[in-house]
């Protein structure tokens, strides 16, 4: 597996692990009825800090293990694959922005979605945005991995 593939795969796993943990934490807080703004900020802050820290560690480890490829510049194939992956992610973000807009415009929709009674609507919207951003990031990474593996 090349440096770029390893980088994408490891970043994807870090994203899944940290934001999966964040989702689990939010659900756990809600089930225990101990949901508070401070607790949620704590979870969010730790998720962001862990992401930054683990990404730095990952880059250092990969640069040591695959030092020959670490300084390679992106070539035309990398740019094409990146553009392809970003176009998929962009479509998901656009879809997400429509969903959030409809969620705000039509409060009746909250009956049919993941609405958590007692949780302020702005936090539901925030989590909806995070969910779509996360989905876009995951799809972006998966498209890159598939493109590198199967060819483009």
């Amino acid at each position: 597996m090349s440096y770029k593939e390893s980088n994408i795969l490891a970043s994807l796993l870090i994203t899944l692990a940290i934001w999966g943990n964040y989702t689990w934490g939010v659900i756990h807080l809600y089930q225990q009825q101990s949901f508070s703004t401070e607790a949620m900020y704590g979870l969010l802050f730790s998720a962001v800090m862990y992401t930054i820290f683990l990404e730095i560690v990952l880059q250092i480890i990969l640069a040591i293990v695959k030092h020959k490829e670490a300084n390679d510049k992106s070539d035309e194939r990398d740019k094409l694959i990146s553009m392809r992956a970003n176009s998929y992610a962009y479509q998901i973000l656009i879809f997400g922005s429509f969903c959030v807009t409809f969620y705000i415009l039509f409060p009746v929709l909250s009956q049919f979605t993941f609405s958590m009674p007692g949780l302020a609507k702005e936090y539901e919207i925030m989590h909806l945005i995070i969910a779509f951003a996360l989905l876009a990031e995951i799809i972006c990474s998966l498209v890159k991995l598939i493109s590198y593996r199967r060819g483009y």
Partner: protein, 71 residues
């Protein structure tokens, strides 16, 4: 109907003092992975890179890359 671009870069590399993929990659300013993908037919390079590769082997482009129309 699928159109396929194939090449004989691998053969040409061996005919040129067993040139390594890395050497060719450095010469045409792409990564070794891109040369691997081109050789396997998983990636069709831009015209610029195709011409650069042809120039490395001092061959016309149609002696390095082949366009096949599968029916």
């Amino acid at each position: 109907m699928a159109n396929v671009i194939t090449n004989n870069i691998r053969k040409l590399r061996f005919e040129h003092n067993e040139m390594t993929q890395q050497k060719l990659a450095d010469t045409v300013s792409v990564s070794r992975q891109t040369i691997v993908a081109i050789e396997k037919g998983k990636y069709s390079p831009s015209l610029e890179v195709a011409f650069k590769i042809s120039n490395v082997f001092a061959q016309p482009i149609n002696q390095v890359f082949f366009y096949l129309e599968e029916v």
